[in-house]
Symmetry: C2
Subunit: 365 residues, 2 copies
DNA sequence: CAGCTTGACAGATACGTTTCTCCATGGCTG
DNA sequence: CAGCCATGGAGAAACGTATCTGTCAAGCTG
C-alpha cells in the first residue's frame, strides 16, 4: 500500500472527513504556514511563482479555510443579523410578507455583494441562540420600544441599523425610513383632486412608528382641509380583523367616498366590502392602499397602491451597516429618509367623461 | 495582595469594548477556567454552590462566550444554511414570495426551537462567502440539476436536506416534497366533478421537478379520461409572461371550460383574461390555481387554491436536517412526501340553486 | 569589505473556548 | 492503618487561522 509509512502523524479523531488544514497545504507545498496564509490572502510579499504554486496545491487538496478559526483570529465573521419582529412565537405575519420578502431579498443581495451573509433572527429568539452566533452587525426591522435584544447588542458594541425609525430612544447607529407623512399627504391630495369629499382611513391599533406617523398625518390633513376624520383601527397582524374593519368603515352612517388603507390586505378587503354594499369602485368609492403586492394590478378594478420600495430600503440599510462595521463606528448616527412611490390605477380616478359625480346615496350632512 | 500584583498580564489592544473572557470570570470568581466552563455549561461535577457563584459572577461581568471560539473547539456553529434558487443575480422571484416566505418562517421557527439559526445563502453566492461561514448543515430549496454549491457541500461532509426532490442525482441526505401527482389528479377530478368538459393547464417551461411532475400528471389524466390536453407553458419567473399565457389559453379555438394554473399569480391573471373575453367565473369557466396567498379568499369571485403547505415542509426539512446533524449521518437517505391542501372556493363550483344571477353590466365586448 | 537594505520566508504566539488528564483531599472499608 | 473510591477542581492541550518578530541570503553603497 502506498501511504503506509509514517502513520501520518496526524490526528485521526477528526470530526468528519479529515479536512485539509492550512498546515497540510504548507507541508504539501513545501513552504511554511505563513507563506500559505499570505499567498492565499494576497498579503505578504511573495514572488508570483510561489503564490501560484501554493494556490494550486491548496486547490488540489480541496483546502477550505476554517471560518471559525478565521473569525476567532480576525474578530470578523462576515455575518449580519436580520432581526424581524415577532407576533407571539412566530417571526412575522402574513400581512407583511410582501414587504418583508422584498426587503430581505434586496438586503441579501446587497450584503452578498460586499461579502457578507444574512442570519435570520426573530427578535424573541432564545438568548442562547443570539449569543451563539458571532455577528458583525445587525439590521433590525421596526424595532419595538425597548427591544431587549437590540439594547443588548448595542451595549456589546455591535453596530445596529434599523429599518424604520427606532421607537423610544433605542441607540441604533443609523436608520432608514420612508417619509410616511409626505406619502399620506400626497395620497390624500390625490384623492381629493379626484373628487373625494370625505376620505376615510383604515389604520392599525398598534403603536409602531409607521402607524402612528401615518395616522397623525391623516388627522392633520383633515384638520387643515376641514374634514371630519373617518377611520377605523384594528390590530394589523390579524387578517380577519382587517376584513371586519373594512366592512365597518363602509357601514358607517358617515360613509367615506374614498378610503386609504394602511396595510397590504386592505385593498381586497375594502373591495369585497364595497361589493357587499353595492358600491362601485371608483364611481362610488375611491380606493388606495399601501401594498407591495402585484395582485392589485389585476384586480377588478385595479387598485392604486403606495409602494414603500422595500428593496431600496433593504439595500440602504445594509450599506449603512457595512459602512459602520468596516469604517469603525465613526461619527454621529446617520438617518436616511427615502421617498415612496404611488402607483396610480383605476381605483383612485373618477371616470373621465363623467361630469357629474354620482353623489353618495343620500347626501345627508 | 488581591490584584495589583502581577500587572494583570492582559492585552489592552482589544478589538472594541474589552469583552470579558472566560478567564476574567475565572479570576473574578477565584476558580479555574475549567470550573467556569463546567459551571456555565452544566457539565462536570460541581457542588451547586460553586455553580451558582460562577454563574452570578459571569452575569455581573456581562460575560458572553465567544461563538467563534466555541465553534472552533466543538466543530458546531449552530448555523444552518437556507439556500434559495436564483434567477439572474436575484435570490428569488416575486412568483414564489408567498411560498418562500411561509416556508422560511416555519423553518426559522423550527430551527430556533432547537437552538439553530438560519443563514440565507443564494445558490449563486460568491464562493468566498459560502466558505466563509461555518455551516452545520444546509437546507436547499428546489436544487437545480447539478448545483455546484450543493455538490461541494456534500463532498465536504456537510449534511444537506432539500425541499423538493433533488433533480438529477444530487446526493442529498434527505428530502421533503409534496405529492404533486396526487394533488393534480385530485384537482382535475374535482373540476370534472363540477362539470368541466375540457380542462386546461397553465404550466411552466422550466425543468424543475414541480413543473415536470405536475404536467406529466395532467397529461396522464387527460389520456386516461380521453381528453385532448389544452395547455400553455411560459417561463414561470416572468410575471408578465404569465398574464400573456393566461390570455393565450383563453383565446384558443379549443378554449377550455376549466383551468388549473400551476403558479401563484395565475389566478388573478386568468381572472383578468376571463373578464376580457366576457367569461363568467365559475359559470363559463372554472378556476383553480396553486397559491399560498390569501388574496384569493376575497377576489371576485373567490378562487379555489391548492396550498402546498410550505409551513409544514419548512418544519419537516429543518427537523430532518438537525436530526442528521446531531444523529451523525447514520443510515440511508430519508424521503418524506407531504400532502397538499385544496381550499375549495366559488371559482371551482357550479352555482347550485341560483336561477338568475345578476349579470355583468354588458356581457359582450 | 563592513554595513545596510530588501526580499522571501520560518517560528512562535494569540484568539477564547472545551475537554482530557491528572492531582489533592477525606471518608470509608478490610 | 493501608488501600480505595468519590468528590472537587486545576493544568494543559488542542481547534485552525492570522500576524508579529525574526533570520538568512543577496544585492547594494561608501
Amino acid at each position: 500500500m502506498t501511504a503506509a509509512g509514517k502513520h501520518q502523524a496526524s490526528r485521526p479523531i477528526g470530526r468528519r472527513l479529515e479536512r485539509a488544514g492550512i498546515r497540510d497545504v504548507a507541508a504539501a507545498a513545501g513552504v511554511s504556514i505563513t507563506t500559505v496564509s499570505d499567498a492565499l490572502n494576497g498579503k505578504g510579499r511573495l514572488p508570483d511563482a510561489t503564490r501560484r504554486h501554493v494556490r494550486e496545491v491548496a486547490d488540489r487538496l480541496g483546502y477550505r479555510p476554517s471560518a471559525a478559526a478565521r473569525t476567532l483570529r480576525t474578530g470578523r465573521s462576515g455575518l449580519i443579523g436580520l432581526t424581524v419582529t415577532t407576533y407571539g412565537e412566530e417571526p412575522f405575519t402574513f400581512t407583511e410578507f410582501a414587504y418583508f420578502a422584498e426587503m430581505a431579498r434586496a438586503a441579501t443581495s446587497a450584503a452578498l455583494a460586499r461579502g457578507y451573509a444574512l442570519v435570520i433572527l426573530p427578535a424573541s429568539s432564545r438568548h442562547d441562540v443570539w449569543s451563539n452566533v458571532a455577528l458583525d452587525g445587525t439590521v433590525v426591522i421596526d424595532p419595538s420600544d425597548h427591544d431587549p435584544v437590540v439594547t443588548d447588542l448595542v451595549r456589546q458594541g455591535v453596530p445596529v441599523v434599523s429599518d424604520g425609525r427606532p421607537a423610544g430612544n433605542l441607540p441604533v447607529h443609523a436608520w432608514v425610513d420612508n417619509d410616511h407623512e409626505a406619502a399620506v399627504l400626497d395620497i390624500l391630495d390625490h384623492l381629493a383632486a379626484a373628487g373625494a369629499r370625505r376620505i376615510g382611513l383604515l389604520t392599525g391599533t398598534s403603536t409602531d412608528t409607521y402607524t402612528r406617523l401615518s395616522t397623525t398625518a391623516y388627522l392633520e390633513w383633515c384638520e387643515r382641509v376641514g374634514q371630519e376624520p373617518v377611520y377605523e383601527a384594528y390590530p394589523a397582524h390579524d387578517p380577519c380583523a382587517g376584513a371586519v374593519a373594512a366592512d365597518r368603515l363602509l357601514a358607517r352612517p358617515d360613509r367615506p367616498d374614498a378610503v386609504y388603507g394602511l396595510f397590504d390586505p386592505n385593498g381586497t378587503d375594502l373591495l369585497a366590502a364595497a361589493r357587499r354594499y353595492g358600491l362601485r369602485v371608483p364611481d362610488d368609492l375611491l380606493l388606495v392602499c399601501c401594498s407591495e403586492s402585484s395582485v392589485y394590478a389585476t384586480t377588478e378594478p385595479p387598485i392604486t397602491t403606495l409602494s414603500l420600495k422595500p428593496g431600496r430600503i433593504g439595500t440602504a440599510v445594509v450599506q449603512l451597516l457595512i459602512d459602520a462595521i468596516e469604517g469603525g463606528g465613526s461619527g454621529a448616527p446617520v438617518q436616511q429618509v427615502m421617498p415612496t412611490d404611488l402607483i396610480v390605477r383605476i381605483s383612485s380616478q373618477r371616470r373621465q367623461p363623467r361630469t357629474t359625480v354620482s353623489p353618495p346615496r343620500n347626501a345627508g350632512e
